[in-house]
Amino acid sequence: MKLFSFQFLSTLRLGVKSLLLHKLRSALTMLGIIFGVCSVIAMLAIGEGASYEAQESIKRLGSDNIILRSLKPPEDTRAQGAGGSGRPSAIEYGLTYDDGARVQSTIPGVRRVLPIRIIRENVRFAQNEVACQILGTLPLYSEMAGLDLPRGRFLTETDERNQANVCVLTVGLAQRLFPYQDPLSHSVKIDSFYYQVVGLVREKSQAEQRPQSGRMEGEPLDNNVYVPLSTARARFGEVLIRRSAGSFEMEQVELHQLTIQMEDTAAVESADPQIKALLNRFHSRNDYEVIVPLQLLRQAEETKRIFNIVLGSIAAISLLVGGIGIMNIMLATVTERTREIGVRRALGAKRKDITLQFLVETVVLSFGGGLIGVVVGVITPMVVSQLTTMKTIVTPWSVLLAFGISGAIGVIFGLYPAKSAAQLDPIEALRHE
């Protein structure tokens, strides 16, 4: 065994020496493998990073949840609803308290239903005024959205029952409204009412900070105020006035979102069509959407799978090209060194010694290229992350995969040239010029 390892080491040394005899040629040959391995790792890292972000934000919506959101129906339907009169009238659409109650009572497997009402208003304290998103909701919200509660408390059942004028602020908003004071000992003013600040929260992700994303462009994302649902209903009424670009429109929306939490993920699958069927009996217009995070997650996984296959194929092709490059060079090398092969055979080399010698050279090329490729491939995503906001994740398996393939390519593409070298007739080889 010791003997073998010594012999192997000297074969290895010899291989490296032979490769160093043609430095540029060896380097260029390696380049194919380097690019191949580097592209496998870097592409998979970028893909992994992108899908990780997508999946995380979907997961935060809760895989047990089904989310219903009110949607403003398309223009033409609204025109009919407004009648012929020129006077602007409130557009009525969206989810209702009844919807929530019906889902809760008729759909099997429902654990709880969380209604959310969203009002856009300015919130004031002293001279400070910030445009906010006011969420009227139940105490349940804190648990279902997984809020962080660094200070104070969240809304309680008592607040809800009493229509209490209390509110909870996101930390970011609190900092903007109360640069110098302690928010917990003050009240904020919304419209013409004062609300006692009872707690500060931090949202888990940006996804929940904007249940109706895209409508508040240019506003900070974490300016949320939470008030009891009953309070929101009493203080703001059902008709909301939206001012936009000089004109204003009125809309009447009872609830903006219903988050339905199911007993388990299995219940999500069966409940999804049942909920749609139930709601469609009461909504003639297309004024709500159903978001099933579980399905989004599956789609994201499927997308990622396809993405990986495509990336994998591209990378495999580039590695294949690298392998062919190696084979090409090794065939040339064998021809060039035919006489050396003859000499070695005359000096006692068996066929398998010659095979091993050339195989070692190829494997040194491909593993060397693989190693450099791994280093470059791990650095590249880091640079990409630094230069862009893209998240990248280098997974250990992609490194192993790329490195393993590069080694395998060395063996596969080296075997033929090495075998053909070993098959040479010693006499012919010695006579070769």
């Binding site: 010594f6 010899l14 000499v343 055979r345 005359a346 000096l347 066929r351 006499i427």
Partner: protein, 244 residues
């Protein structure tokens, strides 16, 4: 005085090359030859007479089509390829016309190559290899590469290499063919010296003067041994020549 040992015996060696359907070249046509330990044999003959073919068979690089070849007591005529490789490595030392050193290796590494294929750990043989290098006068050039040496020096490295496994016989194919006359003489003197120390030498040459150094000169023609000339008597000749 002890009877010199027969180390090589060719019995009815035939070599035929089949070129196409009906064309058969008979390169060797029934060659019988015995070589004794310590012999110095020169093979001469016109081009195409079968010298190279004979040398290839003697060197276990090729197998005869018919006949037996006993080398150190075993019949190598019927050996599989791997065993032939082993026999070459252990029992034969080659000196080629064009030196055939390995370009990427140093002088000492070139000398070590046959040891590697015998499965030896060359570190244990370092002193041995250095001794051989000084025997051929290259002790100061151990780390030089072939392209840094003259032709004569390269051929002397090849001679050191041929000795490293202490072979039964050294085969030299026109060893001075690529050298000028002065360095050629140096190389021949070295070969003479090896023979005087007991090495068995077989060399192929066109040059009468080279052949004159040998004990026995074998003239070949048309794949057969035409005649054998004995220049001088072996130091310890056999009492009776064996029947051919």
């Amino acid at each position: 005085m002890a009877t010199p040992e027969v180390i090589i015996q060719l019995v009815g060696i035939e070599k035929r090359y089949t070129l196409g359907e009906e064309v058969v070249v008979r390169a060797l046509r029934g060659v019988d030859l015995s070589i004794y330990r310590g012999d110095y044999v020169a093979i001469m003959g016109p081009s195409g007479s079968g010298k190279s073919t004979m040398l290839n068979i003697l060197g276990c690089l090729d197998r005869p089509t018919a006949g037996d070849y006993f080398l150190g007591g075993t019949n190598v005529a019927v050996m599989p390829d791997d065993d032939l490789s082993a026999a070459r490595g252990k029992m034969i030392g080659f000196i080629f016309q064009s030196y055939n050193l390995i370009a990427q290796l140093t002088v000492i590494e070139n000398i070590q190559v046959p040891l590697l294929y015998q499965g030896h750990d060359v570190r244990h043989f370092h002193d041995h290899c250095v001794r051989l290098a000084s025997l051929v006068g290259l002790a100061q050039r151990l780390t030089h590469r072939p392209n840094q040496l003259s032709g004569g020096q390269q051929q002397r490295v090849a001679i050191a290499r041929s000795l490293v496994n202490d072979p039964l016989m050294i085969l030299a194919d026109e060893p001075t063919g690529n050298l000028d006359s002065r360095t050629g003489l140096e190389v021949l003197d070295l070969i003479d010296k090896l023979n005087s120390e007991g090495k068995t030498i077989v060399l192929v040459t066109h040059d009468e003067k080279v052949a004159a150094r040998a004990q026995r000169v074998i003239h070949m023609r048309d794949g057969q041994i035409e005649r054998e000339v004995v220049n001088r008597v072996r130091q310890s000749p056999p009492p009776e020549p064996l029947p051919a």
